[in-house]
Subunit: 198 residues, 2 copies
């Protein structure tokens, strides 16, 4: 194993879940018969690092100043969904049941890690609310402790600025068995129970 290959194996490990053994396997795969594909991959990665930036309006990942969703005139301007990460936008989009706009925080409030409101781009959120006729904000941060804390902070902050503030419903997942559901989720499902209709 040459020093350069050692360095490559080491630098592969910045990827989540990739340890020394897997990195070695990748390197042997590349220098087996995949040099051409690896070259294309590395060039695409460098191009993406150079070109991908944050959308000026919603902070989502974008190649242009405005992302495709913000630039679209077919999306509902009156509802804004606030999410933690760009990956959350992809998941919402995959459902094809949301046609509003987004705002991406790129994190959650975390005083212990020194992450405050300004790090999440609250200033940009303010500008967005002033410039667009938003009637409802859907706060879709996670239901972990820091996600909930961020949701409450946003609720207090937005309360006098927006007519309606919502959270996605919590309850039983579709297809899930009652036997494996945790108590908190079941409690939420009970509280939020809905009347059956014909």
């Amino acid at each position: 194993m040459t020093p350069l290959l050692q360095k490559l194996i080491h630098s592969f490990q910045f990827l989540p879940g990739i340890g020394e053994k897997t990195a070695q396997r990748f390197v042997h795969h590349i220098f087996g018969h995949q040099k051409h594909l690896a070259q294309g991959f590395a060039e695409t990665l460098l191009e993406a690092i150079e070109k991908i930036k944050h959308c000026q309006r919603c902070q989502n990942l974008s190649e242009d100043d405005l992302c495709q969703i913000c630039a679209s005139s077919e999306r509902d301007e009156s509802i804004l969904c606030i999410v933690e990460h760009p990956s959350n936008v992809s998941i919402f989009e995959s459902t094809q049941s949301y046609d509003g706009k987004y705002f991406v925080l790129h994190g959650v409030l975390s005083p212990i890690n020194g992450v405050g409101p300004q790090d999440l781009g609250i200033g940009k959120l303010d500008i967005l609310l002033k410039q667009h006729p938003i009637k409802e904000v859907l706060i879709a941060t996670s239901s972990k402790v820091e996600g909930e804390a961020t949701a409450y902070y946003l609720y207090e902050y937005l309360n006098d600025k927006v007519a309606k503030i919502t959270r996605p419903a919590h309850g039983l997942p579709i297809g899930g068995s009652l036997d494996y559901i945790d108590g908190q989720t079941l409690t939420r499902a009970l509280r939020g129970r809905q009347e059956m209709v014909d």
Copy 2:
């Protein structure tokens, strides 16, 4: 998800065991907070693709014309270990119990895939045998069907050229329980049984 990020997710999947979901996770990780590390990684990868070649003598991966092992004067010139892949060399080296030289085939004979002796560098092996005083060749191809076939081909080819041709011992793995051993391995372990001495 922009077209460029889609392309990056697609090109990530040339790595073994990496599918769409994992590639998405990698991309979101990179554009979360790891752009700097990703850039260093991509540059190292391109540098390695440019500089890594096959050692002129043993065909192992190398940055120079001769790999570190072939260039070393401290290794035993009289024994040559033939392996399928560069990764096998790393494993032999990690045991620190082999101090001879290597020859890397970069594959096995496979008529069905059109891989013949010349594709494995048999010509280079010939030159190596003529130029160096090799007394023993240890054929360490795998014990799968194609590895065994390649070993027998090499045995026939080398039989009148080298004094001694060996294969690594097959038998029970150290620490392995008899309950879980397959019949073929146990048969080999019985045939190769050795007398205990004080």
